[in-house]
């Protein structure tokens, strides 16, 4: 990663970064927030548009009930207080992808305020405050290249204009890029659990802007901040923040001052650049939207919405650790998505040994997924498949080696474990004592020195013999049975 200037670790340590994040999530409503147009991603350009979202004269917005409920649900997931009365406001600015010349948003009375997220940092928990969550409409999309007149024109697709967004603004509570990364990870996880957004960064359904300043340690006043926009992954946000911290320290160390500005991150170069087009001071001249009544979400409606709030990831992890005897690491893996956690719990309850399922996910499944470049959701082996394989190992029906082979076959054929297990004729590890005895005899005959040691009292040598027999059986033998046969022969 490129650095702005060579800031030595000693100089770096004198300063403390202060980071606040603004996250936009697209809400998974079928229709837009103020009109009936579809929100489907990937429709032909300018096909999901109507007089309301095109900003044609005289068209009036009508609020989508589901957008309100999703925003409230998300707000509850991040422990916000819901404002019974909130007010829509017009944010005025000119940009080609904003047809009305203003964005309907919320300003001094947002739908929710005063929340927090707990993040794990340095072995402890830290509370990151959430200032507010408000509802607003998305803008359209500008295309700068990839069409005939791209040299002289910008093309506008307004399908996205008017899609419901929740903007979540954090307090400037984060003190390192790592904390920012952790905050975003937890926030995304909670939003995914509530089901109000798919948080797909490639499709732009989760977008993040970062405010960052630095100050000398011990200083209570904030430094001048810059805003970083246009970052499309959490990893890049971390990198952009690292770069910006060094850049700002470099400026301050040389005796100059930071300019408050918006900067864009170029991931290829690993640098941020001042954005020229928005240098003008932001003056949005907010005023209450006259076309919409105040939004009232009274206690009864809030209670109805709260009924749809699922168990949140952190609480779920604690419970799962208790209930299934799994580790913190297991719990994190198994709760990566709500679907995954649901699947695990539905099989764990019936399983002989839930911990073994967790072990298989960590030890056998994740590595194979990574090697195949697959997400957990795309795994050929379902959680039910993992559970079935765990039970087979538990019962001694198949060996660890056989399980590995069957998993490999599953990935090769893109079929679930149980399908492959059936197709392979329900293989079992060898319980054929006769052939085991032959193998044991061969191994004993081939290793007289070790036999001597064993008989002289070094009982741990049994491990060596079991290993040799397992190897000779190509992993097909049942280790316990091998142990029994060998002990009998060696003690004889």
């Amino acid at each position: 990663m490129a650095t702005a200037s060579a800031v030595s670790p000693e100089v770096r340590a004198k300063y403390e970064p202060v980071i606040g994040l603004e996250v936009h999530v697209q809400l998974l409503t079928e229709s837009k927030i103020f009109c009936s147009c579809s929100t489907r991603f990937g429709s032909p350009p300018n096909s999901n548009v109507c007089p309301v979202c095109l900003g044609l004269p005289g068209a009036l917005p009508v609020l989508n009930k589901k957008a309100v409920e999703f925003a409230v649900l998300a707000a509850m997931g991040i422990q916000c207080r819901i404002n019974e009365v909130s007010v829509f406001a017009r944010k005025n600015y000119f940009y080609p992808d904003l047809p009305k010349g203003y964005q309907i948003s919320q300003y001094d009375k947002p739908i929710a305020e005063h929340g927090f997220i707990e993040i794990a940092i340095d072995g402890g928990l830290k509370k990151i405050g959430i200032t507010r969550l408000h509802l607003e409409e998305d803008a359209g999309k500008s295309l700068h290249e990839g069409f005939a007149d791209a040299a002289s024109k910008t093309a506008i697709d307004l399908n996205r204009a008017g899609v419901a967004l929740a903007e979540i603004v954090s307090e400037p509570d984060m003190r390192s890029p790592a904390e920012a990364y952790e905050y975003l990870t937890r926030l995304k996880e909670i939003i995914l659990y509530t089901g109000v957004s798919d948080c797909n960064m490639e499709e732009g359904s989760l977008r993040c802007d970062a405010n960052i300043s630095v100050r000398l340690r011990g200083e209570s006043k904030f430094g001048t901040k810059t805003e970083i926009k246009n970052v499309n992954s959490f990893r890049f946000i971390k990198q952009a923040l690292e770069y910006e911290i060094e850049r700002q320290i470099g400026i301050l160390e040389s005796g100059e001052t930071i300019t408050q500005e918006t900067r864009l991150y170029n991931a290829t170069e690993g640098k941020t650049y001042a954005m020229r087009s928005k240098e003008k001071a932001h003056d949005y001249r907010y005023f209450p939207e006259p076309d919409l009544l105040p939004l009232v979400v009274d206690e009864k409606w809030q209670a109805d919405i709260r009924g749809g709030l699922p168990e949140l990831p952190e609480a779920r992890r604690s419970r799962m650790i208790q209930e299934y005897g799994i580790t913190v690491g297991d719990a994190h893996t198994l709760t990566l998505t709500r679907a995954m956690a649901d699947q695990f719990e539905s099989v764990a309850a019936k399983s002989k040994n839930p911990k073994r399922i967790a072990n298989l996910v960590q030890g056998e499944l994740l590595g194979r997924l990574k090697a195949a470049g697959l997400e957990l959701e795309e795994s050929p082996i379902s959680m039910a498949g993992v559970a079935a394989s765990a039970d087979l190992v538990e019962a001694g029906t198949i060996s660890g080696k056989m399980l590995k082979d069957l998993y490999d076959l599953s990935f090769e054929r893109k079929l679930d474990f149980e399908v492959v297990y059936e197709a392979e004729g329900r293989p079992e590890q060898s319980r054929d004592t006769a052939s085991l005895e032959t193998l044991a005899d061969e191994v004993i005959a081939a290793n007289p020195k070790q036999v001597e040691q064993y008989r002289a009292g070094k009982k741990t040598m049994i491990g060596f013999f079991v290993g040799q027999v397992m190897k000779a059986s190509k992993g097909q033998a049942n280790p316990q049975l091998v142990n029994e046969v060998l002990t009998k022969k060696l003690e004889a």
Binding site: C37, T154, I156
Partner: protein, 112 residues
């Protein structure tokens, strides 16, 4: 004078308006006269009146309805293929100052 010529120029710029000298001085006069009127309104005693963002802030006071229901009439359900269809694509772009038949087009916007 509460509003200066500089304020008028600033607001005109934010609103993407090009005003002639004459228009500017007319605006200056009008804005100050409007603010003068607001000053008169400010003489009213409003300590006991709750701030409101909307003149239609109370739709009905029917006590049988919950607060949400009283305000709920302008809310609609989230319906797939909603009650009102989107415009046909050709109708949507028909009156655009510039289009290639697919997109709306504007003079090149330079981002960086």
């Amino acid at each position: 004078m509460r509003v200066t010529d500089k304020d008028v120029a600033y607001v005109a710029d934010l609103a993407n308006l090009e005003l002639s000298e004459e228009e500017r001085s007319a605006m200056l006069r009008d804005l100050n006269s409007i603010l003068g009127h607001v000053d008169r309104l400010s003489e009213l005693k409003t300590e006991d009146v709750a701030p409101m963002a909307q003149v239609s802030g109370t739709f009905t006071v029917d006590p049988a309805l919950s607060e949400s229901e009283r305000y709920g009439y302008p809310i609609r359900d989230d319906v797939k293929e909603g009650l009102r269809k989107s415009l046909p694509h050709d109708a949507a772009v028909k009156n655009a100052p510039d289009t290639d038949g697919t997109f709306f087009q504007v003079p090149k916007v330079i981002e960086r």
